[in-house]
C-alpha cells in the first residue's frame, strides 16, 4: 500500500499555497509540522480529495485518487481542522449517521459505534447532544468518526487540539496501535505528539516540503547544537538577538535559556540533548 504525492502545486488567486510537493507514503505515522499558513491543511485536503491541486497528482497504489472516487473514500478516515458535528444530534446518532454515509451495514455500524465510543472515552455521554460537548469531547467524536470504517489511510488535522494531557496520551496509544497496516498522517502544533509517535516528520514551510526525515535523524542533526545557560535578566536582549532561543524560563532574578546554535554561545553554556521543539525552532525561527 502506498500513497504517492507527485509534484503537487496549489494556487489561490496568484498565491502559492503549495509548490512542487513530492513524497511517497507507506504504512506508518507521518507528522506534518509547519507554522500557520505553511500549507498543511491545503495538503491534507488534497490528500482527502476535497480539493484538486492546480498541478500534479496524488496516486493510491498507482491510481489517481480522483479517478478512484468512492473506492478511495472507502479506505479513508479524515478529521478536519474545524469540526463540531450536527448540534442537535447525540454523539451516538452522529456516529451512526456517518457510518451510514460510509456504507457500513446497520448491525456492524452499531457495534463499531459502541466500540469507538469506548475507545475515545465517550460511552457515558453517548446520549448527550453535540451542542453540549466541550472542545475536547468534539475532537474525540471527530476522531471516532474518522475511525468508523477502519480506514487504511487516516488523515488527522490537529487531532490533539483541545485534548487534555491524558486524552492526548490515550490518542497517541490508539494511533500507535493502528499504525501497523495504515498510513496515518497527522498535522499538529503540539510538537511533542509527533516526537513520541511519528515514524517520519514532514516539515512544510511556505508551501514547500523542506524536510522529510525520521525524528531520530532530525534530532541527530542538532546533536551538540543545543545549549542550556542561566543568564541575568539584562542579558536576555543580547542573547535573543544573537541566537535562536527555543525556551525561556524565569527562575527568580535569573533566566534559564535553551539555545540552538552551532557554536557554544557562552563559556558557561552546557550542551544538552536536542528535543523536537528545538528542531521546530531551528527550522521555523522567523515564522
Amino acid at each position: 500500500m502506498n500513497l504517492t504525492v507527485h509534484d503537487i502545486t496549489h494556487q489561490y488567486k496568484g498565491f502559492y499555497a503549495l509548490q512542487g510537493i513530492n513524497m511517497e507514503l507507506t504504512p506508518g505515522i507521518y507528522g506534518l509540522l509547519g507554522p500557520n499558513g505553511a500549507g498543511k491543511t491545503t495538503l491534507l485536503r488534497i490528500l482527502v480529495d476535497i480539493i484538486s491541486p492546480t498541478k500534479g497528482e496524488v496516486l493510491y497504489n498507482n491510481r489517481e485518487i480522483s479517478a478512484l472516487g468512492s473506492q478511495y473514500r472507502d479506505i479513508l478516515g479524515y478529521l478536519p481542522q474545524n469540526f463540531s458535528g450536527y448540534r442537535n444530534f447525540t454523539a451516538e446518532n452522529f456516529l451512526m449517521y456517518v457510518a451510514d454515509l460510509k456504507g457500513l451495514d446497520k448491525q456492524a455500524a452499531r457495534e463499531r459505534v459502541q466500540e469507538l465510543l469506548e475507545v475515545v472515552g465517550l460511552h457515558e455521554t453517548k446520549k448527550k447532544k453535540l451542542k453540549n460537548f466541550s472542545g475536547g469531547m468534539s475532537r474525540r467524536i471527530g476522531i471516532a468518526q474518522a475511525l468508523l470504517n477502519d480506514p487504511d489511510i487516516l488523515i488527522l488535522d490537529e487531532p490533539t487540539a483541545g485534548l487534555d494531557p491524558s486524552e492526548r496520551i490515550r490518542l497517541r496509544g490508539i494511533l500507535s496501535q493502528l499504525s501497523k497496516n495504515k498510513i496515518i498522517i497527522l498535522s499538529t502544533h503540539i510538537v511533542s505528539d509527533i516526537e513520541y509517535i511519528a515514524d517520519e516528520v514532514l516539515l512544510l514551510k511556505e508551501g514547500k516540503l523542506i524536510a522529510s526525515e525520521k525524528p531520530s535523524e532530525l534530532l541527530h542533526q542538532l546533536s551538540n547544537h543545543v545549549w542550556h545557560i542561566q543568564i541575568d535578566e539584562n542579558e536576555l536582549e543580547h542573547f535573543s538577538s544573537a541566537f535562536t532561543i527555543s525556551n525561556i524560563h524565569q527562575q527568580g532574578t535569573r533566566i534559564e535559556l535553551r539555545i540552538v546554535s552551532k557554536t557554544q554561545p557562552h563559556p558557561n553554556a552546557k550542551n544538552v540533548e536536542p528535543r523536537m521543539e528545538d528542531i521546530y525552532v531551528s527550522y521555523f525561527e522567523n515564522e
Binding site: 458535528g85 442537535n88 449517521y97
Partner: protein, 242 residues
Amino acid sequence: MLLWEIRKIIGNRWNLAFILCVVSLWGATLYLSGQAGSYQIYNRTLSFWHVLGSLSVGFFILFISTRIFISDKEDQVKEVILATRYGKGSLLLTRMLAVITCSSICIATLTIIQVFGFILFIPNETDMVSLPLHLSRALLFALIGGTLFSIFAACVCLLFNSQTATVIVCGFLFGMTYMLRSDLLQSYSLLWLLDKGFFSYLIRAKGVVMELEWPFLLSWYGCLLFLLISATIKIQARRHEL
C-alpha cells in the same frame, strides 16, 4: 440515508412553533368566518391554500427543509461528509428526495389541519358533497407545486451556498404572486411570469384553471428547473462536491 435526512428536517425546532402558528391562524380565521354564517366557513376552507396554506408551504420549504443543504457548512461537518463513500453525489440526490418528501408531509399535515378545522367549526346540516372533490384537486396542485418549489429552492440554496440568499431570492419570486392581480396582467408579460412562473401559483390552487397558457407554463417550469439543475450540477462538480 433518506431517513436520516428526513429526521433532520422533521427534528427542526421550528416545526412545532410553525404548526402551532398555522393551527392558531386557521382556527381564528374559521372562527371569524363563522360569524358570517356556515357558508363563509365552507368558502374559507376551499380557499385555505390561497393564502395561509401556500404561505405555510413556502415558509416550511425556505426556512426549514432547505436548511439541510447548509447545515453541513454551519455545523462544520462538510469536509467529513465529503470524505465518505456516499458523501458526494448520492447524498445530494438523497437530500433532494428528503426535501420533496418533507414538503409532501408538510402539505399532508396542512390538509389535516384544514379538514379538522372545517369539521370542528361547520354545523352538521351543511352540504359537504362537493367538498372532497375540491379538497383533493387543491391537494394535488399543492403537492405538485410543493415538489417543484422544493427542487427550485434546493438548487438555489446549493448555488448560493447560503440560506439567507435562498430566502431572499426564492421568497421574492414565491411572494410576487400575492402582490399582483392576475386578472389585470397581460399574458406572457414579465409580471405575468412573476405571478405564475415560480410555483406559488400552483400551490395556491384556487386560481388554477385550465387556461390557454398552460402549455407555455409547463414548458417554462420544465426549462427553469432543467437550467437550474444543470447549473447546480456544474457548480457542484466545480466545487468538487459531486
